[in-house]
C-alpha cells in the first residue's frame, strides 16, 4: 500500500469559537497561553479555548469539559463548524511546542471546530479572568496562536451568513434590547455600518420584534424603548413566508 496513514502520529482536537455580546461590542472568548508561541501580538499570546480529545470521551463531552473550565457551565449550546485537516496547519516551532506541552511526538493535529453564541454578563467576564481566559473585542484581536486566526475568521463568516437566514442575533442579546443594540450587534457581525433609519423600519415591520413597556434608564441620550424577540411569532412568520416545504407537497 503506497498511502502512508501514519495513524500513530496524529491527534484530534477541538476548538471553540464562543461569541458574546455585552450590548456594546461583539467579543470572543480567548485563552491566555504560555506554551504556544506567537510573535508580534500586542495583546499577548492568546488561543481559542480547546483541547485534545481524551481517551474515553466523545467530542461533545470534550467540548463540555472545555466550556466548564472557561465559562463554568457544561451545557453551552454549540454548533459544529468545519474540521481543519490541513496536514501543515501546525508545523515547525508550533508543533514542537505542542509536542512539548503534551509530551508527545505528533506530526499533525486535526481539529473539529465549534461555534457558540452567548449573552455576556459580568459574572462570565470575571469567571473567565479567574480561569485563564478573557472576552476580547473582535476588533482588538491580533495574532492568535497556531492557525486560530483562520478558525476565527471562518467562524465570523459563518455567523454573518447565518445572520441572514436565522434569528441568531437574539441568542446574543439580552431578553430586552434596544433597536440600537440590535443594530450594533448586526454591524459588528457583518462588519459594515447599517443605515439606522432603514434598519429600524425593517425590524419593526418584521412582525416578531415587538415593543415592551420599558425604556432605558440612566442613559445620557434620550431613553430608548426596549424590544423583545417573540420566537413563536417568528416561527409563524417564517412558515407564512417560506412555504417551500416539500413535506407539505
Amino acid at each position: 500500500m503506497q498511502t502512508n496513514y501514519q495513524y500513530d502520529k496524529q491527534a484530534i482536537s477541538l476548538d471553540c469559537v464562543v461569541f458574546g455580546f455585552d450590548g456594546q461590542s461583539l467579543k470572543v472568548l480567548l485563552v491566555r497561553c504560555k506554551h504556544f508561541s506567537s510573535e508580534g501580538s500586542s495583546i499577548g499570546n492568546y488561543k481559542l479555548p480547546g483541547s485534545l480529545i481524551a481517551n474515553n470521551e466523545d467530542l461533545d463531552s470534550a467540548v463540555a469539559r472545555v466550556m466548564e473550565k472557561r465559562i463554568g457551565m457544561r451545557n453551552i449550546y454549540m454548533r459544529q463548524m468545519d474540521v481543519f485537516s490541513d496536514p501543515k496547519r501546525i508545523q515547525g516551532e508550533d508543533l514542537r511546542l505542542v509536542n512539548k506541552h503534551y509530551n508527545a511526538d505528533l506530526t499533525r493535529i486535526i481539529t473539529v471546530t465549534y461555534i457558540s453564541l452567548v449573552k455576556l454578563n459580568n459574572q462570565m467576564v470575571s469567571f473567565a479572568l479567574k480561569n485563564g481566559a478573557e472576552w476580547i473585542d473582535i476588533d482588538s484581536v491580533k495574532r492568535l496562536a497556531l492557525d486560530h486566526n483562520n478558525i476565527l475568521i471562518k467562524a465570523l463568516n459563518h455567523i454573518a451568513r447565518q445572520l441572514q437566514q436565522e434569528p441568531i442575533a437574539f441568542e446574543l442579546l439580552p431578553k430586552k434590547f434596544t433597536i440600537r443594540a440590535l443594530r450594533t450587534l448586526c454591524e459588528a457581525i457583518i462588519g459594515f455600518e447599517l443605515d439606522s433609519r432603514n434598519f429600524r423600519k425593517k425590524v419593526l415591520s418584521s412582525g416578531y420584534v415587538i415593543p415592551t413597556e420599558e425604556k432605558e434608564v440612566d442613559v445620557s441620550h434620550k431613553p430608548a424603548l426596549y424590544y423583545k424577540f417573540d420566537k413563536k411569532l417568528y416561527e409563524q412568520e417564517i412558515k407564512r413566508r417560506f412555504k417551500l416545504s416539500l413535506r407539505s407537497w
Copy 2:
C-alpha cells in the same frame, strides 16, 4: 494531568454517504468488504466508502481519493456532515479486524462523514461494480459493517430535512424529468407516499419547475411531459418569498 489523551492510539477516518437516483429508486454507494465482519446480512458484507486519512493529505483530498477509486471522478461535490466520535463506536471483533487490516494497534477511530448527491447513470453503475462497490437500493440495505447503519440513517434524516429547505432533489434528477420521477424521489427520501394530485399542483405552482417541449418515449403508460428545474427562477422566487435578510436591513 488526569485526562488521558492516548493520542497515539487514535486515528481519523472519513466515510462518504453518496446517494444516487436512477429515476426509479434512491440508491446508496456501498463497498463490498471482506475484512470487516457483520453477521446476519443477506446482501453480503457492505460498508460505506471511506478510508483512514493518510499522512500527507487533508480531508478533502482523502474524500477525492476515495471517490476516484469508487466512482472514477475526484470532484464529486460533498457536504461535511457530523463527526462520529463515540469512543466505543468500533470495539471488540470489529476493532480487531480494523487493526489487522491496517496492521495497527488503534483503540479508537473518529470518523468525519460526508454526503453527496449524484445523478446516477449506467456508466457509474458498471464502474462501481468493477471497482469493488455497488449502488444499492436504500430499501434493500441490511446490516452494514461497523456503525455504518447509524451513519446512513443520519445522512438520510439530513437530506430529508434539507429537502424541505433547499432544492436538493434536482441534484439527483436528470436535467429533464417527469413530475412522477420527482415525486418518486421525494417519497424515497422522506419515506412516505405523497398525494400525487396535490404534489403536482404544488410543483407546478412553485414557479421554478417549468415544462419542456418533450415527452417520454417508449413507455407503457401515457407518455408524461418532461420538466426542468430553473435555478435562476428558483433563486428569484426564494428572494421574493424570503425577505428576511438582515443584510438588506
